[in-house]
């Protein structure tokens, strides 16, 4: 591993360029952003399109099912462990690359319009570029440590971007919370890495996989490793119980929410598990844990989403819910389905966030749905695209969300009926609150002030263009993974097959469910979605129901609207005690016990000095007596006491 690998591959240059371009963009923006003015945003967008082009090149040129390791240098080493700076290009990373650079560049484009009037324009783009750089490292690394660089790096960028408007301390709190919650997960990740280092002496994906395969199925070591890795994933992908940062993270500018907190960063946990699929397949108990956590998160977030009135918060909870769904898929060993949902979700959730951004832009910063309504008339493009996104997430065929969601539900049905029921219920709720959002925002009449009403306008082309592109993708993206009842070639599955081949060997292959059963499942899912949409329509369009003000809520709905008081519980259970402990340590232990001991020693010495001082009588005769007697004693000791 020490010797440098001579790069002959034609993929070398594009691979290097993919992360380097955003990094270059970051430096240009960070150093010269102020001077460049709005040009800086265009540069940032341009480098990303460049990176997207490179990713496309890789996609087209990587032989089917092949993978390529591109080593740049040895980063560091100790003992016999070498950590190279190397990239792994295989179908999985290319999928992520395409999503990140593709959606990333669209969101950059969108931000050009969205952030146009902001003072920190160039700063914003430098952060975005930096984020993309780290995200690319995350998905391209050929070992866990490179992944970890990206992992922490995106956390940093998320911190910087959530707290982008740093004058507002609430935003800063949210940013800090996101970073710290992520770090809790990171600790799990690090411990997982240590265990891998300890048992496999390496962090390279393939070496770890080989080592794990030797240990065999259900080995406790692997279970621990995977559990710790999953803790990392929980932090990054906002799963129970570490999800609370994600709704707060909506404090950042909307493109950030779209890019980081919907399409890319939060799916890093799913990517990581998919990447370590061999490990996870060898640890069935961990998979069960993931399944349970994923399902619970999905359901929990969906319930909370029902009562949110902030347009972005609704989307945030829906993201958490969808992430839970993806984890559930992973937990059932259906890695492709999980990844498939990552891709489709990236499209429609980015679309929804950008659409929400467009709404907020039109409303001049207002985010409360209770003050909106009837916007469909004024901002038609936004409305249309937003509707497409909503339909997609609700799982109505033939939109993208339907296919990926259906695949997961089918797997769940085959795996465990209870899980299937819960997940179906959660997607039903999803359809309901998403349409609640649409109806409250776009239909009926405007509820805000007149001042705002005059201000409402359609967003500029830089913002609508990405919306349209993403909407198109949301419609067609599902076709890369048609269910077996429609087509025999599942393009997406085939593309990723090589990545998950080993897992498929380990895991007992589930028997295919019959076509008729699958038709029934599809029918049920669609019916449920339609029913909840109808219910939403009935409640919010026919009855023109508007959610009540927060203080009027009572009973269970108050609990739900306050997110089950999870933040408050965390505050009293973790934050307050730690603060109390901090004071306790300082005042009691440090000042009282330790310092008192130190001072006590000093005090005792002082007092002894005070007492012994009295021996200094000033009488020379006494001194001489003392001297002679001491001499006698010393000599006597020397002679008679044998040492």
């Amino acid at each position: 591993m020490t010797q440098t690998i001579i790069q002959t591959s034609n993929l070398y240059l594009p691979t290097i360029l993919i992360p380097l371009l955003p990094l270059l963009g970051f430096f240009i923006n960070a150093l010269f952003g102020k001077k460049l003015g709005h040009t800086s945003g265009w540069i940032a967008t341009a480098v990303l399109f460049g990176a997207f082009a490179c990713s496309l090149f890789l996609f087209l040129n990587l032989p089917a099912g092949g993978s390529e390791t591109i080593t740049i240098s040895n980063w560091f080493y100790f003992k016999n462990i070498f950590v190279p700076f190397a990239f792994l290009i295989d179908p999985l990373s290319i999928t992520m690359l395409l999503v990140i650079t593709g959606i990333g560049s669209l969101i950059h484009l969108y931000s050009l319009g969205y952030m146009h009037h902001d003072e920190g324009f160039s700063r914003f783009f430098s952060y975005l570029n930096l984020f993309i750089f780290f995200m690319l490292l995350l998905v391209m690394g050929n070992n866990y440590l490179i992944m970890f660089i990206g992992w922490e790096g995106v956390g940093l960028c998320s911190y910087l971007l959530i707290g982008f408007w740093f004058k507002n301390q609430a935003f800063n709190d949210a940013a800090k919370k996101a970073f710290i919650m992520n770090r809790i997960g990171d600790l799990g990740f690090i411990i997982g890495m240590f265990m891998m280092l300890f048992y496999f002496n390496s962090l390279n994906f393939d070496t770890v996989n080989i080592g794990a395969l030797k240990l065999g199925m259900g080995n406790m070591t692997i279970i621990y490793i995977t559990l710790f890795l999953f803790v990392g994933a929980m932090g990054k992908s906002a799963q129970l119980p570490l999800y609370t940062w994600l709704p707060d993270a909506m404090a950042g500018p909307t493109p950030v929410s779209a890019l980081i907190h919907a399409a890319t960063m939060v799916t890093a946990g799913i990517y990581m598990i998919a990447r370590s699929n061999v490990l996870f397949s060898l640890a069935p108990h961990t998979l069960d844990v993931i399944l349970i956590v994923g399902t619970a998160t999905s359901l929990f977030a969906a319930v909370v989403g029902l009562k949110q009135n902030d347009i972005k918060k609704v989307l945030a909870y829906s993201t958490v819910s969808q992430l839970g769904l993806m984890f559930a898929a992973l937990g059932m060993g259906a890695y492709e389905s999980g990844m498939f949902h990552v891709v489709t979700h990236a499209f429609f959730k980015a679309l929804l966030f950008l659409g929400a951004g467009s709404v907020i832009h039109a409303m001049g910063g207002e985010q409360d749905m209770r003050n909106m309504g009837g916007l469909g008339k004024y901002i038609k493009i936004t409305f249309a695209t937003f509707l497409i996104g909503t339909v997609a997430i609700s799982g109505i065929p033939p939109f993208a969300g339907f296919f990926s969601k259906d695949e997961i539900l089918a797997t769940a049905f085959e795996h465990n009926k209870v899980i299937w029921g819960l997940l179906s219920f959660s997607s039903m709720l999803t359809a309901f609150y998403m349409f609640r959002l649409v109806y409250l925002t776009f239909s009926s009449s405007f509820r805000g002030t007149d001042e705002v009403k005059h201000h409402i306008h359609e967003s500029p082309a830089t913002m609508t263009m990405p919306l349209i592109i993403l909407a198109t993708c949301s419609i067609i993206a599902g076709f890369i993974g048609l269910p077996t009842i429609l087509s025999h070639t599942h393009l997406f599955k085939n593309y990723l097959a090589s990545v998950f081949a080993q897992s498929k060997l380990i895991m007992p292959a589930g028997h295919e469910i019959s076509h008729s059963m699958e038709w029934i499942l599809v029918g049920t899912a669609v019916t449920l979605a339609l029913v909840s949409i109808a219910f939403a329509y009935q409640k919010y369009v026919m009855q023109k129901h508007v959610p009540a003000a927060d203080e009027k809520l009572k009973g269970i709905s108050k609990v739900v609207a306050n997110k089950f008081y999870v933040d408050e519980i965390y505050n009293t259970v973790f934050v307050k005690p730690i603060m109390l402990l901090s004071d306790l340590f300082l005042v009691v232990v440090d000042k009282l016990i330790v310092d008192l001991l130190v001072h006590a020693i000093a005090f005792i010495t002082n007092q002894i000095g005070r007492a012994l001082r009295l021996l200094q009588t000033g009488h020379v005769g006494f001194y001489m007596f003392a001297m002679v007697i001491s001499m006698i004693i010393l000599l006597a000791v020397q002679i008679f006491v044998v040492i």
Partner: protein, 484 residues
């Protein structure tokens, strides 16, 4: 010979600077330290050439024949790393004082340079007694620096610091004498002591002699109470010296004079030592969370960081030792950075309470950028210098005991908590009424912070030269000190 020159440059400079006055004092000190730094690079290049290094770097002259004390100075990878750290930080520390006015600045800088001399001496001496002399010598200048140029309540705080550390040194002196009389070579040369170990029955007792001395200097819980007060009272350059270089003396000494010399004692008491260190990490981090004084906050964070280093060293494995060395360099750079930032803030606002600061980023964006880079460096974000060290240290502890690693790993979380909280309260938010004017960086401040920021990334991205530099000596120490 080269080592001797390395040692003498600061000494000569410290004498010469006494004859200057006014601005020339600072410039002279700055150039002296820069020359020293350049010379260090030359020494490094010589060091790379193993053959030439042997004859050029070591000096061994008999100084006192009975008891046998030699003037034995040399350089190995570990010493060179520490010398490099000192010489790297010294120009920054001197430069940091350029826009401050001190009374009797020629004495101040003379003391700073004398301190530099003593620190280099500690790192290059290979004779126990010589090492002890330099160790104590280092205490004298910093005592006067804090006593004469310190903040409120300085005489009490400085006295506490002085006596505390002196008490530790006394134990160490006793340990050395004990070693001298109880090994059959009757020599305190490092090369003799590492080969010719004292009977393992006496090592347990000796371990505590040395351990307490170093635990006070580092400082480890519960010997740390001198530190927060001293750091917040000493003048900033003094604090930078103390935290950047002087506490590395303790960590360096663990590796140089404790592990290889009394391996059985270390092996016997490692569990206690690691427990102390790990508890210290969590304890200090938790305290730092609620600190409101910015300098004390950094002081506690420093206790947490060095506790981690010490824990990694006591884990007694390669990655722990190597990681400890790498982290010493990283921590030295970062801690100087944070204290300088704190100084800039306190100097401009006259306020060190983080609750009455805020919004500085609005007024001084460049300062804010450097500050966040340094903060991120000290929370060990990947690609910054402390990540690799912290990773290796934690892995070292993990190999020793996984629960200890999880405990120590809490520093990852808690570090982020207190650092970001501090950054948020000081730099972000709207302007506090106490902060109405805040001038952005002056040229010398920018130079210092930019250098530190660059170093943070350079050592984070290219740690290999450092790892290669310390690998041979780390292996050697590991081999000597690993008892099974």
């Amino acid at each position: 010979m080269l080592t001797l020159i390395l040692l003498l440059i600061p000494l000569i400079a410290s004498i010469l600077v006494l004859f200057l006055k006014g601005e020339s004092v600072k410039w002279f000190s700055f150039f002296a330290t820069i020359i020293q730094l350049i010379f260090t690079f030359y020494v490094y290049s010589v060091f790379q050439n193993k053959e030439a290094a042997k004859s050029l770097l070591a000096i061994n002259i008999e100084w006192i024949s009975s008891p046998k004390i030699n003037f034995n100075i040399a350089l190995d990878g570990m010493s060179l790393l520490m010398v490099f750290l000192s010489n790297l930080l010294m120009p920054l520390i001197v430069l940091a004082g350029f826009n401050r006015t001190q009374e009797r600045s020629h004495i101040f800088y003379s003391l700073v340079l004398l301190m530099h001399f003593a620190l280099i001496g500690v790192f290059v001496s290979f004779d126990g007694f010589l090492y002890y002399i330099f160790w104590e010598l280092a205490l004298i200048p910093i005592y006067f620096i804090s006593l004469n140029w310190g903040g409120v309540n300085r005489s009490t705080v400085t006295l506490k610091f002085f006596i505390y550390t002196l008490a530790g040194s006394l134990l160490m002196l006793f340990g050395f004498l004990f070693l001298y009389w109880n090994t059959n070579l009757h020599s305190l040369s490092w090369f003799d002591l590492t080969v010719n170990h004292i009977c393992s029955c006496k090592q347990g007792f000796l371990f505590w002699m040395f351990f307490i001395a170093y635990a006070i200097k580092i400082p480890l819980i519960p010997f740390h109470t001198w530190q927060p007060d001293t750091y917040s009272t000493a003048p900033t350059q003094g604090t930078m010296l103390l935290s950047g270089i002087m506490l590395k003396m303790g960590l360096y000494s663990l590796l140089r004079w404790l592990l290889p010399i009394i391996p059985n004692g270390v092996a016997e008491y490692t569990p206690i030592a690691i427990a102390l260190c790990v508890i210290g990490v969590v304890y200090a981090s938790v305290i730092a969370i609620m600190q409101t004084d910015i300098k004390k906050l950094f002081a506690y964070s420093s206790i947490a960081h060095v506790g981690l280093i010490a824990a990694g060293i006591f884990a007694l494995n390669m990655q722990g030792i190597q990681g400890g060395l790498v982290q010493m360099l990283a921590h030295g750079i970062n801690v100087v950075g944070v204290f300088y930032c704190a100084d800039i803030i306190i100097n401009r606002t006259g306020n060190s309470n983080i609750n009455s600061l805020g919004g500085i980023r609005l007024l001084a964006p460049r300062f804010a950028t450097y500050f966040i880079i340094i903060v991120l460096g000290s929370v060990a974000l990947p690609l910054t210098n402390s990540f690799i060290g912290e990773f290796m240290l934690l892995f070292g502890i993990f190999e020793y005991n996984s629960w200890a690693a999880i405990m120590a790993g809490l520093t990852i979380i808690l570090g982020a908590v207190y650092m970001l909280r501090m950054y948020q309260k000081v730099m972000l938010g709207d302007l506090n009424e106490n902060v109405t004017v805040f001038e952005d960086l002056k040229w010398n401040e920018e130079l210092v912070l930019a250098t530190i920021a660059i170093l943070i990334f350079v050592f984070g991205i290219f740690p290999k030269p450092i790892l290669e530099l310390v690998e041979p000596i780390a292996t050697e120490i590991f081999k000597i000190s690993f008892v099974k």
